[in-house]
Amino acid sequence: MARLKSFTMNFGPQHPAAHGVLRLILELDGEIVVRADPHIGLLHRGTEKLLEHKSYLQGLPYFDRLDYVSMMAYEHVYSLAVEELFSFQITEQTSIIRTIFLEITRLLNHLMAVTTHALDVGALTPFLWAFEEREKMMEFYERVSGARMHSAYIRPGINLQLDHQLLVDLQLFVEQFPFRLQEIEEMLTSNRIWRQRLADVGVVDFEQSLELGFSGPMLRGGGFAWDLRLIKNYEYYPYVQFDIPLGTNGDCYDRYLIRVEEMRQSCFIIQQLLEKITLSSSVNPLHMEELISDFRYYSGGNYSYPQNESVYLSVEAPKGELGVYLAGLTNRPERLHLRAPGFVHLSSLDQMAADHMIADVVTIIGTQDIVFGEIDR
């Protein structure tokens, strides 16, 4: 009897379900995946190298372009690192505004993650609804920074201002958003096809997720309560209340439910922050002399020099633990390293996809919520 040999298939780099430019070499036995070998780097721009040649403020806009669905999360972690390096202080108002926009960013990211996942699996409609909501949130981005996506809004050591009308509109948005979320859930949560495609697919238990270095919703899917927003106590998170949704089975369906519930919690956080914020008067310079010194300060690549030699810190980005290492004693970083959550998650694709059908690979890529801007850097 002839022995069947496994055959190799190329998935991507232009496959729409590959979420960007992922070249995946699949070794198949019939329709069962034996081995999955992701080839990444098709979007590698050498951001870490480039930043060694920019001043701290010049480097900031690169961070929007890393994870281009959760832009401010990246700006924020870089700003935090620079602030720690220089021992900068920010005001409480800035901290609240940052936290509001971090949660808006989480909504942006999870909407994209859940609905493109649904799109890959075959449900188009939630995707269209989510993009309407995303557009509203990008409008908030635009109103504070002038740019819809690559906002460069959260900057190291710079205090933020908002106008009152924006807070009113944010309140309106947060009130209506859970209903939109419910509409999306009605389409998916109890949908028979959606459940059949997701339940018991890509199961990663707690032990395994530790070995693979998971973080964020991927780790919480296995039922482990680990959220850096609670552990690290950065920004305004210690002063707001929120729940951390946990999974029980560690499959794709659990992770979908976690992301949806996290969106609800984000709305809840924003609502609490809107109650806490008190807008102070403008801190922008009013006199010509102040304006000149202000301009010189920011355009001159920072007058003060770093207080610490290097910092490493991590925050809870929407996708998972986002770490940044920043070293330097001059006006530009000596070395910057990013720990992208998607990088670690994608490296586990081989373990996650093994023994699954080829159609499940699409589901697993979707549930990992990968974006190639951050993975390839």
């Binding site: 780097g41 590698h44 530790l210």
Partner: protein, 166 residues
């Protein structure tokens, strides 16, 4: 380690700097002492010029909610920590590709982010920002060809710390 068990709330990060020899055994001891709830979250290199490459391990202990930061200067080769924490897999591939540090016992040390056939170690300080080669599609050969890099304007490198002080 005893101290951490006594005061888990008061210590949130432990760093070990420039330890000599026995890199793998130290990691092994850490892995065992952190029991089962430890994870390697990050592993990266920093080019320290004459001193060699500084390799940083960032470990989370979920049990004690603290991070371990280990750093080590090396210039040649290390023992892979893949067998202790499988998440080291791609991190080590990246370090090998970017700095040329090999990891003994790594199951699959291939290039990760750079192009197929790329040869240099781009994150070394000695590697120029512009690189050495550029690729373009050649209509004549009907394929992508590489040539040495040509830029109309040089990258502007401001040597002074501030344009106002210069």
């Amino acid at each position: 380690m005893e101290l951490i068990k006594l005061y888990p709330r008061w210590i949130n990060s432990v760093s070990v700097d420039h330890f000599v020899g026995g890199q793998f055994s130290l990691l092994q001891v850490l892995k065992l002492s952190l029991l089962h709830q430890s994870v390697l979250t990050d592993l990266f290199g920093v080019d320290k010029l004459n001193h060699g490459i500084e390799i940083n391990w960032i470990l989370w202990s979920y049990e004690f909610e603290l991070t371990y930061k280990l750093r080590l200067l090396t210039s040649y080769s290390l023992i892979s920590s893949y067998w202790l924490w499988p998440s080291a897999n791609w991190f080590e591939r990246e370090i090998w590709e970017m700095f040329g540090i090999t990891f003994q016992g790594h199951p699959d040390l291939r290039r990760l982010l750079t192009d197929y056939g790329f040869r240099s170690y781009p994150l070394l300080k000695s590697y120029p920002l512009n690189g050495y080669f550029q690729v373009s599609y050649s209509e004549k050969h009907k394929r992508v060809v590489s040539s040495s890099v040509f830029l109309v304007q040089e990258f502007r490198r401001f040597k002074f710390n501030s344009p106002w002080l210069a």
